[in-house]
Subunit: 345 residues, 2 copies
DNA sequence: TCTAGGAACGCAAACGTTTCCACAGGGAGG
DNA sequence: CCTCCCTGTGGAAACGTTTGCGTTCCTAGA
């Protein structure tokens, strides 16, 4: 049927082992033989059978990435796609393939990952989410499978992971507003049980502290990572007797809600309220007005995760590699935060 | 090392062949034997080695999807992710895995697909884009590899493909504006060499024709699938002596540009201009105001593509299956088009 | 009682690689 | 001149399955 290593061997007048060695760039093969074999491979249109190779070499040169369950998916599409691009690009560059698996329930995820890893279809896995007490992490850890987590696990701080320094990022974002002269800065947060909400809140508070500004409980609102959260926060904030002049918002999507809320209430951004948000998804740039956002290097997160995983696969056992990778963030300043409030009397 | 079919056989007191037959739900295995084998598999934590299986059965039970080159990627992330979700969900449901491959140049794409298909890593491929004279399509066709195209190929109309009826969709969108009483309707198109631009333009023109409305060349603007295009189109349209009261816009992203342009010029949507656009990406819902958009069932496109491909893989040769699949569209009406113009004098 | 045929299972050959071991030939060192 | 090592190559086993064919046993029909 298709042309095998034996066909090439026969035609080139060598043994299959020699052809195999040419394939793997083995030294100890003479220049001439090597070239002759390569010519024959070209001539016959030979492509090595990856399955056969994997079977004997016990390595598949591919990794899998588990998409989180679809519950909270919709608005995260841009985020994931960017991440996947980073992962796939790096993996391909290292000669690895990427298998995508969609998670349903946590149990289904475990079954999928189990089938892929125990069935030796992939050499390792990338996990895209850190829920609290993640059983998938536990499963992978117990079975000694190579894997990397994009995000942070509170329960297992020592596992291979790639993440941002969210505390510092929020600190920087807040600092930016302070440097513009804002003294009354609010915070629209995400769900309090999410580690990222807590980290960003922490950075916000630290920055205020350091600047000697008051941290006011009524200027902090918790919600979901949804547009509605931002929308609702506005009707709350803008009805306060004393209002903030600037806002740190935990996510771009929430910012969109903030923007709409302000628009409906007749307020202007940035004149009435300055906004800095997080993640720098494309919607941050596309909204009216464009909103300043903390770029967290999503592509880079994926790229680095892939790199770290493959490294840990290839140098199995050696523990000298870095466990936690921190991807740098960078504030992208746009219209929503280019206004300084009038000096307080 | 890991537990194989032989271990199970030994422990269950049967031959490897029997275990294999249990695995494939072969009849002619007695209930008791089958159950005993299953118990042992459970007990030993057996997982079949997918590579070994593929090697002998000559089928990998996986497909690949080729992401288009990153040039025009950025704003398409949401689109692709949704598509991929559909693909992966259906594939997994059919017991298939999905390998993602990122295209660089067209040549690189061919090499990737060649390696995956000739190397027998995957059984078929999904192509996500129809450029004109696509060499990848040609390559797959010539090599008789199973594949499906999401979109339409002008050069090869007879290949397996999944697409929308863009002519009809544009017709429906335009009709919607007409039924609101609009008589002066413009069209913001994409690149004229894109098949989708032409199809949508055609539907727009047909609807106007049918309603006896004038098709005016100066109310049609061609551009890119970019926000800037919409933005520029506005400074053009709104300076016209006679302006349209409604606009059909070829893509949600372009609509965002339109929205921003109008905002800056001080016009209001929908009072000054109604907008209907295409694709119904999440940004259409999240913008201010939310814009009416023709939902083209992106997830469904992916799901159906995957289904069609797997079907064609499994029933190789039999030609009785549908070649072109059309995914239904559905207009989602939002604020941007809930205004009827004053009756013309 | 004999035989045909079906049900349940075992044997062994593939699938296309990689890799350990063996081996031939040649040059260098003693 | 003999041995040793090194270079370049071939032989063959192994990786973990599937599957065609063969075998055994049992039942039913003649």
């Amino acid at each position: 049927m298709s042309v095998t290593i034996k066909d090439v061997a026969k035609k080139a007048g060598v043994s299959p082992s020699t052809v195999s060695r040419v394939l793997s760039n083995n030294t100890r093969i003479s220049r001439e033989t090597s070239q002759k074999v390569r010519d024959v491979m070209e001539e016959l249109g030979y492509h090595p059978n990856i399955m056969a190779k994997s079977l004997v070499s016990r390595t598949t040169e591919s990794i899998c990435v588990i998409l989180p369950k679809p519950a909270e998916e919709l608005f995260l599409n841009m985020f994931f796609m960017e991440l996947i691009r980073g992962i796939v690009t790096q993996a391909n560059r290292s000669g690895y393939d990427v298998v995508i698996s969609s998670g349903g329930s946590e149990q289904e995820e475990i079954e999928a990952v189990s089938r892929l890893l125990k069935g030796k279809r992939v050499d390792g896995a990338i996990l895209l989410y850190s829920r609290k007490d993640d059983r998938v992490v536990e499963f992978l850890k117990n079975n000694q499978f190579p894997f990397v987590l994009v995000g942070r696990s509170e329960k297992y701080p020592d596992i291979l992971s790639v993440d941002n320094d969210n505390v510092q990022a929020a600190y920087d974002a807040t600092k930016h507003l302070i440097s513009l002269g804002h003294q009354r800065i609010g915070f629209v947060s995400g769900p309090p049980n999410h580690i990222v909400s807590r980290d960003r809140m922490k950075g916000y508070v630290t920055a205020l502290d350091e600047a000697g500004l008051a941290m006011r409980k009524d200027w902090i609102v918790e919600g979901e990572f949804l547009q509605e959260s931002g929308y609702r926060a506005m009707s709350f904030f803008m009805n306060l007797p004393e209002r903030p002049t600037a806002l740190v918002v935990v996510d771009d999507l929430v910012s969109l809600g903030v923007l709409r809320g302000l628009h409906e209430l007749g307020y202007k951004v940035p004149e009435d309220l300055c906004i800095v948000s997080f993640n720098n998804l494309s919607i941050a740039e596309l909204s009216t007005p464009p909103v300043s956002s903390m770029d967290i290097g999503i592509y880079n997160l994926g790229y680095t995760a892939s790199q770290a995983l493959i490294q840990s696969i290839q140098h199995d056992g050696e523990q000298q590699f870095q466990k936690r990778h921190i991807i740098p963030h960078r504030l992208v300043i746009r219209e929503s935060s280019i206004y300084s409030p009038p000096r307080p009397s």
